[in-house]
Symmetry: C3
Subunit: 458 residues, 3 copies
Amino acid sequence: MNNTFLSDFIMITNFKTIAFIILLIAVLFGVNIMSKKKVKFSTRMIVSTIAGLILGLIIQLVAGFPDNPGDVQWINEVNKWYGLIGYGFMDLLKMLVVPLIFVSIIRVIINMQAGENLGKLTVRSLLILLGTTTIAAVVGIVVGNLFKLGVSANVVESTNEIREITPVVDTLRGLLPSNPVSAMAEGNVVAVVIFAAFIGNSMKILNKKYSDVIKPVTDLVNGSYKIITSIAMTVIKLMPYAVVALLANTIAGRGVSAIKEVVEFIIALYLSIVIVFIIHLIIIAFLGINPFKYLKKVMEPLILAFTSRSSLGTLPVTIETLTDDVGVDNGIASFVGSLGSNIGMNGCAAIYPALMAVTLANMTGTTMDISFYGMLIVIIVIGSLGIAGLPGSATMAVSVAISGMGMGAYFPLAGGIIAIDPILDMGRTMLNVNGTMVTAVAVGKSFNKIDKEKLNKK
Amino acid sequence: MNNTFLSDFIMITNFKTIAFIILLIAVLFGVNIMSKKKVKFSTRMIVSTIAGLILGLIIQLVAGFPDNPGDVQWINEVNKWYGLIGYGFMDLLKMLVVPLIFVSIIRVIINMQAGENLGKLTVRSLLILLGTTTIAAVVGIVVGNLFKLGVSANVVESTNEIREITPVVDTLRGLLPSNPVSAMAEGNVVAVVIFAAFIGNSMKILNKKYSDVIKPVTDLVNGSYKIITSIAMTVIKLMPYAVVALLANTIAGRGVSAIKEVVEFIIALYLSIVIVFIIHLIIIAFLGINPFKYLKKVMEPLILAFTSRSSLGTLPVTIETLTDDVGVDNGIASFVGSLGSNIGMNGCAAIYPALMAVTLANMTGTTMDISFYGMLIVIIVIGSLGIAGLPGSATMAVSVAISGMGMGAYFPLAGGIIAIDPILDMGRTMLNVNGTMVTAVAVGKSFNKIDKEKLNKK
Amino acid sequence: MNNTFLSDFIMITNFKTIAFIILLIAVLFGVNIMSKKKVKFSTRMIVSTIAGLILGLIIQLVAGFPDNPGDVQWINEVNKWYGLIGYGFMDLLKMLVVPLIFVSIIRVIINMQAGENLGKLTVRSLLILLGTTTIAAVVGIVVGNLFKLGVSANVVESTNEIREITPVVDTLRGLLPSNPVSAMAEGNVVAVVIFAAFIGNSMKILNKKYSDVIKPVTDLVNGSYKIITSIAMTVIKLMPYAVVALLANTIAGRGVSAIKEVVEFIIALYLSIVIVFIIHLIIIAFLGINPFKYLKKVMEPLILAFTSRSSLGTLPVTIETLTDDVGVDNGIASFVGSLGSNIGMNGCAAIYPALMAVTLANMTGTTMDISFYGMLIVIIVIGSLGIAGLPGSATMAVSVAISGMGMGAYFPLAGGIIAIDPILDMGRTMLNVNGTMVTAVAVGKSFNKIDKEKLNKK
């Protein structure tokens, strides 16, 4: 056999390579059996995480825990093949960014209510939700930098070129869509959002007089949204398979130290969540409500969110708690609750992508200056509107933020962290729900529609 | 304060920068108040033009009328910020080019009548309209070169590379859409037109037998057209704001000499209009009608067009004059009048973009050879079909022509001229209406449907 | 007259150039008259081929059969102008690739039947059809290389850079659509297919519960498909005109040796067809049927296919023969017959594009290694799904394969061969029909639904 050819083309030169490819296929088969036996998605995710961890450790063990796993040829080969599964999954996630953002922004704007009070209600709810989203993004950025996430895993040769500071004016103009098709082709998320916003706005205006003329477009937007959402769901369903490959790939390729990095990420995320949670409570205090009393009353939805990892599933409990225990007007509670399950998710759509962007920038030696941070916050906040109500919204939020920062090519590096998603998701979801409830209280307060009696009742 | 950081990032190092930014905001506020008080759009445009002129002069005054305003740092900073408003507006205009051309060309073709005589009528009207459009484009190019428009304002370093002459055959093939999506992404206007024409043509053919199958597409095209037209209207409404920033930016950045350039442009435009007008009259003479008699009879719609700056608003008077005074058959007058208010506008869609393209080419040191001119005429004529019946069609025509010539990146340089649009619009509109009337007379003559009695009546 | 200008811009410096341009126009006029007199398309194609051949020979004759026709300036000029017609036609073909593939793949998936047995029937039919397509593609590649097609006509300077072997893993990942819009702009056929497949799959799933929501999208897909098919038909109708220019251009520019190349291509194609035909018979033998008996029974549809060059036109005879003479169950015969007239055409969609890709690669000095071949087979097989049921499907298949291989820019070089399409089409169509019949027999056998009595009857 011609070894050079094999190593260059098929990337299999060693019996170990074949063995580990077969092992991976066997594990994926196991995951598939779980899926057929209708094991819950979250259980499958946890099993996959453990399987990936073990697989990576076995590879390290067989290789004798080398200092530089990247120098061992067969590990590189195994990783190429594992990467095909894992990174291919990441490519599919990226594929959805442009059509998803485009269609869902149009849809969000068309469906905004225009009634008198409803208008005020919407504006106030949005402002507060996006405000807390901004805060959460900032916290994520700060904590990510304090932890120096990703620095030790700098896998891309740092380019020596010093990036010049881009003036904020130029950055802002770069976000404008001077050609919508090229904006889409380049994955310029903000430009796509602006173009979509113009379309949505015009459709909203035309809907009064010319609803019959634009109806085909409206129907198309709704239909496309349904389809893209469904594609997203299909792709997300592949996550348990990808997780095995991604985690094994990470540990095999970067050594046991990779585990340390991932653990650091978990700690950084949970620390950020705690900080934003405290900020939430401070807001509650500013609204004239005892934060401890508030905390005691909302314990139930928070625990449910933490364990179920579903904002939407928790929604009925959230609304009931807000109405019966906190005393928020039922209309407001329902409205803000529904809105907040979709838009401005503090955990999933702000802290998480912020931490991830910082990690990737460190990994790749990307210079982070004020224009980087400003841009990141803008993209996260705008993005938090666009990923409304999607399955796997946290992973989507990361995909959008990374693409929007022009780091789409580095996205696969996030694989190691994407792989441990369930552990991260618990805290994130809890924070989402709390953000929604704080917003509901603030909006209720602003309309003077909080029932003191219920609030003070034990 | 770290001045380097501020100058590099926020571009504010001087109290004067802040002062002038605040001054601009104040002026824009004033423009907004006019808008809220429902001041007429044209009045707002004139006020904005004057305000921008004064603002630019004040900046020059404060800087002591420097020889090279570009060397004064705070003027550069002010201009960056002013440019964000002004050039941002130009970006939004450019954004509309591809979707607009694509959808409207399909729509124009679908809606073409296919009746027997109506077919002949359409073809003849189109040929004459596009013929006069071509003449007007040529006149614009010649006059623009005689005036050396933009030469003194050469703002872009002339690249020394001598552009080779592109054979006409290669130019023609470059216009073909070998991939419609990349043609759209690159803003290749003619390729988009050709692709759209294929679609429109096929839809027209299928409409006979399979109208139910393609109805969703037809409806979508109509709906999208409505939406894009509405977006164009939204963007055009921002023009008074942009005008202030653009004119102030131009004068501040290029000194008082910029005013001279703009005035030269105005003179060149009006000279071109007069020349084409004379050509119109010569055509009338060739048709066997005394041009002076014709002129006397059509004075009313011409004056109305000049003062109202609206071809469409003038249309009823145009048709009435053509029928009652010139003796053109009422059906032909109505048909050509409606067509000519949309297609082949001699002033807005031919002279104006031609002058602008020449100006921009001179400004940027772009070599203009015969392939440049040939291409420009083709794009202007084709473009004059695509911008049919749009608000702000003259500005759109410039946007289309500049993008089509691959000079889209230079489009913002046109800001100084875009800013004085109202002055230009009066002459352009008058010429549009006269072109329509000449076409109506020629078509009427060709069908032998001109009432000599009415024509000779005083 | 300024000769330099003329030669550089208009490419006319010689009386001969003008004469041959006029001659071409005259011939095209003649072709147009045939079209108006409703001469059959195939007759027009043959006449055009002969006309192009003669025109090319006359040019060679006038030039005195030079060794290097490329050194004669007036031949170059004539060829530039002839190329505008011929290669312009090729550009229009390329234009259709992306929208066609995108829409038709979605449509194919939506329309797949999901019934129990129907599902099995579909899967088995598809597998066998695509299996024979793969075999045919491999045969085409092997024969093309044995004949060294295109090597002698190496028209593009061979670039000395040695292309590195791309690992198969990287090739596979490169096929994934990480941004659908840029995939379309780059003409990445496989990525477009994958994205379309995700859309089609989701629409199929949603169709059960949410058919009303996605109906606008379904209708749009069907309408667009109708329109694109109609555009394809419009473009294909131009083929007789293009053929004259392409063949004359080929012979004029490459000398009489070009005829030799084209003849070699014809021989290679028919040899490949014979080889695949023998493989078909071997499959029949493996299915337990005497291949000679089979051959005698299916002679009628094969001859009809060869002379009529229409798989679809032959379909009724194909089904009747399968049912009455070979004894295949009528349902299966109808189903596979219909499917096979559209999908997995062995001749048109496999051998032909394979040979063409090898020829172009040789012509342009493109290195062909295992990743090239692997990729080519994948693209041909996937493409054979996407060009389903189109007019001029063989030419389309070539267009898709060449674009997919990233050799879209070289496509025009195929002109000389495209020009003799009718001669190639006879064998290709015959093989398509035989492939369909073999599939029907295999599927019938697998369901044990072949009537032995009918089969053994004489």
